[in-house]
Subunit: 152 residues, 2 copies
DNA sequence: GTAACCCCTGACATCAATGTCAGGGTCAAG
DNA sequence: CTTGACCCTGACATTGATGTCAGGGGTTAC
């Protein structure tokens, strides 16, 4: 099976499949003409990789536990590495959510103050607390990046 | 006042302050020797910019409404542009939170299944739903990026 | 004069998956 | 043989605030 077929059957782009191979997530035999040759197992594997990426794992993270689930889907959760990686990711996500919630609250405060504006209603503006000079910003969040850019 | 002083008093790095000037968020007069010269108002401005950035606004977004609040802190929320930008950002944040929550739930499901592993307990693995090939991934989130990298 | 700071500009690096282009093969159908 | 639809590799672009370095100059105290 050629790479274009795998792309159609998995939803991943040809570019992405080549990328997964380059970083070692999948392997492909080669035909005489140099074309990559995939089989059914590769289709399943690419789909699994896609799911992991949508969950927020990077290819590097996936590589650390993909060998645990390469053979049998039923053992996906039985491999310690998988569960460990999932717990780490879960914790990271919850940190990000907490950070977003903090920012959300501050935005809400400002907006609430804004609705009662008119003029000199707010003496010292609700421009939020003076954050410590050191503890700025939030960590970059992982997760898929290459598509549907520009949200806000 | 020189740029180093502003940095100390705002918590922003010298590099960042120069960046804010480059993108038009602040202006600085120049001394005869070419050094930037700042005043007290600039200190307040840089602090405000820092707060906005920590809230998740990009410099480009800040530029769209910074002129509303450049003079009087008390009118911060009185400018329509500010409130509009805040509402947009709020919506973006809530989208991101919803996305994170979705991923969190899927991770939890997998982990729950993992805790009841042992062996052939799960016939068809809880590897989450087969996402449509098109609607993959979540938009890149804005917000501060240059510090405290690598979280997960 | 020289060390020790400070300032300047410009450029490259970071993160990570993906898009996209250039330049070039392979192959089957017409 | 030509066209069209694939495939290949390699490279650059994207995001965006910030770090960091190179190369050069100013200022001040010794």
């Amino acid at each position: 099976m050629k790479i274009g077929d795998v792309a159609k059957r998995t939803g991943a782009s040809v570019r992405s499949i080549r990328h997964y191979e380059k970083v070692g997530l999948i392997r492909a035999t080669r035909e005489e003409n140099g074309y990559r040759d995939f089989d059914e197992a590769d289709v399943l594997l690419v789909r699994r990789i896609g799911r992991m990426i949508r969950l927020g794992f990077t290819t590097e993270e996936i590589a650390t536990f993909l060998n645990c689930i390469v053979d049998d889907p039923a053992t996906v959760t039985a491999c310690p590495k998988v569960a460990a990686a999932h717990r780490l990711k879960l914790a990271a996500i919850e940190r990000q959510m907490a950070d977003l919630e903090t920012r959300r609250q501050k935005l809400l405060i400002t907006l609430k103050a804004a609705s009662g504006q008119d003029d000199t209603s707010v003496p010292e503006a609700p421009v939020h607390a003076e954050a410590s000079p050191i503890a700025r910003a939030h960590p970059r969040h992982p997760g898929a990046r290459g598509l549907f850019r520009r949200s806000s």
